[in-house]
Symmetry: C2
Subunit: 271 residues, 2 copies
């Protein structure tokens, strides 16, 4: 099995890529990890120009010899290639899985909106760098290679689901890239934000016309919360409960997703 890796946002460190490749060679010997050279380009904030990142995505997505596309890391910039790539995907692109999270949620959302392939939210090659990162990355590789359910987010099973970083999800609201999530359990996670910004994003989520039909919300990890001046006086769980009330959808509890080693795989739709 051949898994292609591109970096649609920021560049991937070569040493980290080598560690993921070495780990996969031992733990998943049947897998051939193909790092596209674009992963290691640098252009300002990004892993190559918008054209270079779009071209790498299309090259691998449209290649029938690549069985799945794994995003190497997030950062910022996946949104900037959407118009370049989404109208240029052929039959091979419809047949494969796409796995990533954080900023790459722009691509997962857009693919799911158009029902192209099998998008999934889960650990990326860069996560090998976390403490316990081999276990984290194994969840993604096990799902990509064998649809192994052991690495799936534990609450999955009954209803369709989707997972997003909150800032990425709210950046898609009101655009054609946000998928129809009617009847889906929506899982959200966040990192490196002060609580007032998280509250503002939850406001947009709760008031978004497009999201009125969701089945409920689960809260993933809220990591590295930035200082709020003055203290916000509510916890993330109090906040999500309040906004779910205003939205009129149930808060369903926590989800094992996030910017940490406990991040699990959430295939979009029914699993």
């Amino acid at each position: 099995m051949r898994i292609g890796i591109i970096a649609p946002a920021r560049e991937l460190d070569r040493a980290i890529a080598a560690r993921t490749a070495a780990f996969a060679a031992i733990a998943f010997p049947e897998v051939d990890l193909v790092f596209h050279p674009q992963c290691f380009l640098s252009s300002g904030h990004f892993a190559g120009t918008d054209d270079q990142r779009a071209a790498a995505f299309l090259e691998m997505a449209n290649d029938p010899a690549i069985d799945a596309l794994w995003f190497g890391r997030g950062g910022y910039g996946s949104n900037r290639i959407l118009t370049r790539v989404m109208d240029a995907l052929g039959p091979a692109a419809y047949a494969k899985a796409y796995l990533g999270y954080s900023d790459t949620g722009f691509l997962l959302g857009a693919l799911y909106a158009r029902r192209i392939g099998r998008p999934a939210h889960g650990p990326m090659p860069i996560d090998i760098d976390r403490t316990g990162g081999d276990v984290t990355v194994t969840r993604s590789l096990a799902w990509l290679t064998a649809h192994d359910r052991k690495g799936l987010e534990p609450s999955l099973g009954r209803r369709p689901a989707a997972a997003f970083n909150l800032a990425i999800l709210t950046s898609m609201i009101g655009t054609p890239w946000l998928p129809d999530l009617t009847d889906h359990v929506l899982m959200i996670e966040e990192v490196s934000e002060p609580l007032y910004r998280i509250d503002r994003m939850l406001f947009q989520l709760a008031h978004a016309t497009q999201l009125r039909g969701i089945a409920g919300i689960r809260l993933g990890a809220i990591r590295d919360v930035q200082e709020n001046d003055p203290p916000f006086a509510e916890t993330p769980e109090q906040m999500i409960t309040r906004w779910c009330g205003e939205m009129g959808v149930p808060y369903l509890g926590r989800a094992a997703i996030g910017h940490d080693a406990d991040n699990h795989v959430v295939p979009f739709g029914v699993v």
Copy 2:
């Protein structure tokens, strides 16, 4: 003339309120500035609870003896009173002007969406604290008291316009609170953000289905830009030009609005 002042987000400092009152007493002796006691409340992040801020807004908006409502300052939290106040506005609320900017843009946008009163983006009482703040605040008082055009944003006059902080505008996209801005010149400004976040917000603006009919965009001040790691390699003007191209609307140049002493008044609609 009586101008009511409330604080729909963060609390107002009493000393600053006193300075604005003292300045107005000399420069605009015909004006009675009525600071609602709610301005000075404190509850966690906010100038009183959501209920207290909503009640103060409604009390002054629905009072026929108050000729205009001036928001004391921004911060975060105006969005949290929208559902409490917008269905409870009576005839007196329709007859008055509403002036503020930054976070209070949530209220200006929602009022304009429902064609309630005369919302305007412009300096607030807290701006007296800036160097040259008396000139800044004079623009708002002159417009509120006499519809004096000297404090208006200089490009205004031919087309309808509206102005927003970019983060506030993008937080309303996809919700019922975003007004119809078809054929409007849209002016945006930002403060205290790194360039990658500004780029991400411009992506949402450029791709927003609701904004497809705008006449063009003007760029206000982009102040206190936070460090971007790595450097973003584009200026705000290059970014807005690129996104306007992707959106298919003209970039019309700069606007004299922003989080600074040069902030001018932009009444929503035609002036």
